[in-house]
């Protein structure tokens, strides 16, 4: 499926009679002449059902619909459309009857993506090991077991410059190397599949779509660092991913790719699944290891790092699902290949779960260095319902927001932290003009407060204090001093918290205080919520000039707060109003004002 363009030539009877064959031949000849025959596939298809304008040529992915095409037009079609990417306007049919919903925006969805981690997702049957094998599956393991030294593997990862995809971006080769060098009889390999950011589902999809890539990578790590046992720590809320992992592990054992004497090499390695009970903090590596050991999931200070002293005190390599899924490709294609993708600071690709007020929500994988604008507007198709873009939140509860002034920033580990946000595991939530920044921040902060393990006081007490201050502001009781207080507490949490959860929990507040100070001021000074989200700060009223007295709002109001006779102007009783917004939604005349 490596073709850049598909040219569909109508092969229906009607078009056949008007020289479709000659057009097909001419297009073929032009592709050869202009040197693009490798990039284009020309196919004869069935009738497009538009015979009066035939012969018809359709070019994908742009979905350009050319009508009344003659063999002489082939040269121009290939030279302009395929080579230069410009549509040949004179042949285009504007009211394309076939096009309808296949909008150009939709078609762009995959074009800017580059899929390394998701190479098999949505392509192979994840429950059939043979399909994975057919797609170079276990070829990397083969290479590692029989033709590479352990040092070569580390060196390859170093050349590749792969950095951990769980959020922190620590160089993977260093982790592996620490564990490799640590002297111990027993070592462990752990896969962190405890994905918990609200709105993030990259790891779940990878495990559901391509479980063997993770198993293969873990086995490679086992061989490289000298471990014989791997554990996958996965949330119990991911039943399908667990099910598919279990099938994959069973098949790998049957085929001799897991277990004793793998492929006759004498190397033994096996993997077990451990279920997490859904505590967000267990995504932090030391808490995760504690949880596997059967203890309460609480982080411990590092160093010592798990690479040296991890599970049951033994050296442990712990990587995130997405990091693992990159490994087999790096081994097969080489570190040099990988290092050419992305930016100076961050190599390879990143998977994002694109959600929120976006037209095409989805799972996207792009080379590092792609701009936010390309992700949101080209891949995501822009903001839903043609609303105005407000901000994009990356890094989940640990990240910050990025405003429209920074949409052209190429995304990598460094650029996002410079903007006060972070890469995180890859959640990307788009907000529009209807979202209240203070309200959104309150949501994230409450999430972090709920998920704090409570061990260290900066996180436990600081988080709660910040949440209280935000609550106060959204209730309309905020004071100017609260802004400084929030910043002070936030900075203290960043410095003094024990693990990343507490250190990053204030990020949403700190970054929005910077970029959306106006909105905080509107809440504190004007006692208004510009987006109309914070219930205590808005009032519903009826505009007497627009109300025609249809009674629609009064009939729908759940608390009977609206009074008024038929064909007379209605009135909302502010004391009874619960600000549910039903009247606003049902009014067909735009007579309900929200202020």
């Amino acid at each position: 499926m490596a073709f850049r363009n598909y040219i569909l030539v109508c092969g229906g009877t009607a078009c056949e009679s008007s020289k479709a064959d000659a057009i097909y031949e001419a297009l073929m000849a032009e592709c050869n002449a202009q040197g693009v025959s490798e990039e284009v596939q020309i196919v004869k298809t069935g009738c497009f059902g538009f015979c009066e304008q035939g012969p018809i040529v359709k070019i994908l992915p742009e979905d350009s619909f050319y009508v009344q095409v003659k063999p002489e037009d082939a040269q121009e079609l290939i030279a302009e459309h395929v080579v230069k990417g410009r549509e040949v306007k004179r042949l285009l049919y504007s009211k394309d009857p076939v096009k309808r919903h296949a909008k150009v925006e939709d078609i762009k969805f995959y074009q800017k993506q580059y899929r390394i981690v998701l190479r098999n997702c949505g392509f192979i049957d994840p429950e059939n090991i043979e399909e994975y094998i057919a797609r170079e599956g276990y070829a990397a393991l083969e290479k590692v077991l029989f033709s590479m030294s352990k040092e070569d593997v580390i060196e390859e990862l170093k050349t590749a410059g792969l950095r951990g995809r769980g959020g922190a971006g620590f160089p993977t080769w260093m982790k592996w190397n620490f564990t490799k060098q640590a002297a111990s009889e027993e070592k462990f390999i752990v896969c962190n599949a405890d994905e918990g950011d609200p709105g993030a589902y990259m790891d779940r999809s990878t495990l559901e779509g391509d479980p063997h890539s993770v198993l293969e990578a873990m086995t490679i790590a086992g061989h490289t660092v000298g471990a014989q046992k791997g554990l996958i720590y996965i949330r119990a809320e991911y039943p399908l991913a667990i099910h598919r992992l279990e099938i994959a592990m069973k098949q790998a054992r049957e085929y001799g790719l897991l277990g004793t004497d793998i492929l006759g090499s004498g190397f033994d390695f096996d993997i077990e699944i451990r279920l997490g009970a859904g505590a967000f903090v267990c995504g932090e590596e030391t808490a995760l290891l504690a949880s596997i050991e059967g203890r309460r999931g609480m982080p411990v200070p590092r160093p010592p790092f798990p690479a040296v002293k991890g599970l049951w005190g033994k050296p442990t390599v712990i990587n995130n699902v997405e990091t693992w899924a990159n490994i087999p490709v790096i081994i097969i294609k080489g570190g040099d290949w990988f290092s050419q993708i992305g930016t100076q600071d961050s190599h390879g690709t990143k998977v994002f779960a694109l959600t929120g007020k976006i037209r095409n929500s989805g799972l996207v994988e792009v080379p590092m260095g792609t701009t936010l604008r390309e992700i949101i507007y080209d891949i995501g198709g822009g903001i839903a319902h043609d609303k105005a873009f407000k901000a994009v939140q990356t890094g989940g509860p640990s990240g910050g927001v990025i405003t429209k002034d920074y949409l052209d920033t190429p995304i990598d580990f460094g650029s996002l932290s410079k903007l006060g946000s972070m890469m995180g595991s890859g959640g990307m939530i788009v907000m529009d003009e209807d979202d209240c920044i203070v309200d959104v921040v309150k949501f994230y902060l409450n999430f972090s407060v709920d998920e704090s393990c409570g061990k260290c006081s900066p996180c436990r007490i600081g988080g709660r204090s910040l949440a209280n201050l935000l609550e106060k502001i959204t209730k309309g009781n905020g004071e100017m001093a609260d802004i400084d207080r929030m910043r002070e507490i936030g900075e203290a949490m960043k410095k003094a918290s024990l693990c990343a959860l507490g250190q990053t929990a204030p990020n949403p507040i700190l970054s929005t205080l910077h970029y959306f100070r106006d909105e905080y001021l509107a809440h504190i000074i004007d006692k208004k919520c510009p987006a109309g989200k914070c219930k205590s700060l808005i009032t519903y009223s009826i505009n007497p000039e627009k109300c025609i007295g249809c009674t629609a709002c009064a009939r729908k109001c759940p608390v009977g707060a609206i009074s008024g006779e038929r064909r007379a102007v209605h009135k909302i009783d502010p004391a009874a109003c619960i600000k549910c917004g039903v009247c606003f939604e049902v009014c067909k005349f735009g007579a309900v004002d929200v202020r």
């Binding site: 580059y114 949505g122 057919a134 001799g256 090499s265």
Partner: protein, 133 residues
Amino acid sequence: MAKMTLEELRKLRDTKKVEIQKRDISGKDSQIIIGMGTCGIAAGAKVVLDAFLKELDTHHIENVSVTQTGCMGLCYVEPTVEVLSPGMPPVIYGKVDANVARLIIEEHIMHSRMVSEHVFDRPSTDIIKDGGK
């Protein structure tokens, strides 16, 4: 399957590679691949799978395989289905329900006409086949 040796793995890979590549080139058989991650299933992919099997049965079509795969990433138009059939470009259909499944069989598979209202994208660049950029 008993445990494999290195040679057996290589042999298996070569055989399977040919089979899986049939999807890309004009082989004889068509394939219908349904995205069945949690997302797809939640949006109704199981119903769609059943509908495809039923329609193939109704029309006595035997050279079409129906398989499942993971998430294709097009969350906004789940359930998604990829259809590969000879003489047609690979197509991803979105917002597929039992009725659209019937249309895909009757139009795309039986008459080589795309169900244009539901065409969303073609698969992305494949790094395994490409050997990189």
